[in-house]
Subunit: 156 residues, 2 copies
DNA sequence: ATAATATAGTCAAAGTAGGTCAAAAGAGGT
DNA sequence: ACCTCTTTTGACCTACTTTGACTATATTAT
């Protein structure tokens, strides 16, 4: 049984397909539709529609309130790589790193196979490291791979 | 009386026969079915479905969690991956790791871009680690990527 | 203005599910 | 009996999901 979150995510993405990379929805209606707590919607947004994923959320409360999800217009791939590189910084959680990989794939900068390969490189290794170091290592590896991608773009 | 582990192993293998060398199962359900501790399942996986045995495991926790077991096919490139995987072991020098990447590329298992991406993941990170750990980390990362390649060959 | 109503946001707790590890139990060999 | 290897279990851990109580903000009615 797939978790509701996945279903809601797919639902929203389907909507975005139709409407030019942008949807506006009512939190309560959506929650009603899926028979779940309204905050469930927030959870889905927070875990699957973050800026790392390439989305921006706008919303308003009160009467006539809404939630708008906008797909960030992609600049050139090179700019994007630069931005992401900086975002990674010197420490990043494994979960955030995976979000960035999803982004790279959805932007067509890497294909699915490459994304999985990169994810494999980031997998929590059997090397027992203190948590603080792990995030640093994750960042270092990811940055290194991003640089490689950027470099190849130049060469091509 | 045959140990439970053998029975569970056989059960899983039978499942894999039906479903194209690939099963997805719920740890708790399986444990329930065999009236054993859930961790028993992990034991079976750890002792009978390792990469050395030709299997790769993926899993997810939380609601909707699962364990997927994928059998690595045994055509020639797969055998090579298997061999290389064993060669890597639990510790490998950076230089040796790069040689292995060269090999993977010359065998046509990865293309140049992928080889470079993998090399980037293995680049000595700016994380200060004792040399012994670095080689272990290098091995872990490389093994992880090799498994990913093996898995994808199966899926393709 | 103020109050009522309609939304959305936050956060922590509960729920679900797999992972790890070490100790206890069992089986076989000497 | 004793040692060793394998199996089995349970306590504790980590990760992901779902919910609900409480909060914040906007609109509408009085």
């Amino acid at each position: 049984m797939k978790p509701l979150s996945d279903t809601i995510e797919a639902f929203i993405k389907a909507l975005m397909e139709e409407e030019d990379s942008q949807v506006e929805l009512k939190r309560n209606e959506l929650a009603e539709h899926f028979q779940c707590a309204p905050s469930q919607i927030n959870y889905v947004l927070a875990t699957r529609f973050t800026p790392d994923h390439g989305y921006v959320i706008e919303s308003r409360r009160g009467g006539g309130g809404y939630i708008r999800i906008v797909r960030i217009a992609s600049s050139t791939p090179d700019d994007l790589l630069k931005t992401i590189y900086q975002r990674v910084g010197t420490s990043i959680s494994h979960a955030d790193a995976l979000r960035i990989l999803a982004r790279l794939q959805s932007e067509g900068i890497v294909n699915e196979r490459e994304a999985h390969l990169m994810a494999a490189a980031l997998a929590p290794q059997a090397v027992p490291l203190p948590l603080s170091l792990k995030d640093a290592l994750c960042a270092g590896t990811l940055r290194s791979m991003i640089l490689e991608l950027a470099k190849r773009r130049k060469e091509a």
